[in-house]
Symmetry: C2
Subunit: 293 residues, 2 copies
């Protein structure tokens, strides 16, 4: 499909895309572009066979590259677009992997005046608690969902190419608006992460005062897994999508107020209904999750 794929930010996300693209024969060569401070990581990526070469100079990285996927935290997108702008090539296809789409599109507008028609905003939905190229997996995106959020101005052929690219990698592709993406992911991903960070932090401080972690069970282990997520990535996501997240935090607070109210009043049957409904909802989620069509 591509001669040369350039991954910008070859960590868990970018590294896994590189591995998957290679495994599926979607590109002949994979290179990375990064900053000076990323050199050890990019060197490691070569050692691990994730990429063939790496550059800190965008001119060298872009030479002969026909596909670029930006995999850095969403807070860096504007700086990355600035860096690529002098070399932006109408024959090359560009995409990203950011967990928010509105902020990425805004960053592109800020740098280019309008979003380039050969940039297709994308978000591969694959959770992972580990970071860095060492954690990259060839099957991270297999049987997972990918969302593309092309604008009306995006070149349909570019959309088709990335659609095919991700389907070859094994993801099922959904297309939706930037706004809908950010609304949905705020609920299914951003809010849960905030809740996990908040709870684990609160219990962490209690544990420092007096041991409590030793009395937490496997349930807490699973619940808290997403609190191991990369703080930089999540600081960026939360700030980028705060307009969607803040109302959800408020809605969740209302849910908690309701539960507190039921507890105060000893309302057993209402509590049972609440917990029952959640159990059924979770069952419904599992059926959907285990069948990514």
């Amino acid at each position: 499909m591509f001669e040369r794929l350039c991954i910008i930010g070859v960590g868990l996300i970018g590294g896994s895309i590189a591995k998957a693209a290679r495994a599926e024969g979607l590109c002949k060569q994979v290179v990375a572009l990064g900053r000076e401070k990323n050199l050890p990581n990019m060197q490691r990526a070569v050692e691990l066979g994730v990429i063939d070469a790496f550059y800190t100079d965008p001119a060298q990285a872009m030479a002969g590259t026909d596909c670029v996927i930006i995999c850095t935290p969403v807070g860096s997108m504007q700086a990355i677009f600035e860096q690529l702008k002098p070399y932006w090539n109408s024959q090359t296809l560009y995409s990203d992997a950011g967990s928010t789409k509105g902020s990425v599109v805004e960053a592109a507008r800020a740098v280019f005046g309008k979003v380039p028609s050969n940039f297709v905003p994308a978000h591969p939905i694959a959770g992972a608690e580990r970071s860095g190229v060492e954690a990259a997996k060839v099957d991270l995106y297999k049987n997972r969902r990918l969302i593309l959020t092309p604008l009306s101005s995006t070149d349909p052929r570019a959309v088709d190419q990335f659609n095919a690219f991700w389907r070859r990698i094994g993801s099922s592709v959904a297309i939706m608006s930037v706004e809908h993406h950010d609304t949905v992911l705020a609920a299914t991903s951003h809010l849960p992460h905030i809740l996990a960070f908040a709870l684990v932090g609160m219990l962490g401080r209690k544990d420092e005062q007096r041991e409590i972690f030793k009395y937490a069970a496997g349930g807490f282990r699973d619940f808290s897994r997403i609190a191991s997520s990369d703080p930089t990535m999540w600081q960026d996501i939360c700030l980028a999508n705060k307009q969607e997240i803040i109302p959800l935090i408020q809605q969740f607070q209302a849910e908690l107020n309701q539960v507190e109210h039921l507890l105060q009043n000893g309302d057993a049957s209402a509590l049972f209904e609440t917990f029952s409904y959640a159990k059924q909802a979770r069952q419904r989620f599992l059926e959907i999750f285990d069948d990514p069509t």
Copy 2:
């Protein structure tokens, strides 16, 4: 150790105790006591080899029984104590597996006037999202923690017996006060369950309006696992321990208010600190969890 163990409530928890006790040769016989409506479940327990016999008549269940472990939801404890009272035997040892201890001790006081010296309140900390005897596992408590909360009036020999019983099953045993147990478990278990139930319910209602569950990833799957917990068990736990839980809900809401505030103000570095601290705390939790000494 025992001639005949009687499990009251042979579901996941009681069934797993039965299986583990048998596997470790801790009793010669295992029987169950239950209600009419539990007959199919108890019949299944016999078919699965979890128990040898079952009764709905406490007199028959208690005959020849030298150890009783009550494994029903904590809201039923008072009724169970009432049922056992006419047959309560000073030569028999009694214990439970309830997720709260204060309410269990209160129930015993209400029925007996004071907590019988041969009743040792216990709580095996083992999470599971499935219910019922079909889900019972012989190793559910292996390498897990068990908390005993004897009172000053509890017979030390009874405490020693259950300490040994649970250690043979593979649990590490901690002894603490009833109050400390309920305080700690409110934080490590009860609050997380409430958060999971509240979030999954909230997202479940959104999903009914417009599909969102299909865009949740593996992180949400883990986070929501404890929302599959048994609603009756959790209704009982939350009501029994509401004095500890309500303040924790309020503390958690203060945490969320703080995050909301940071988002409103775009305070990137404070968000980073919050998420970083949680990540480190989770790491500390994992080290403790994976080393139950």
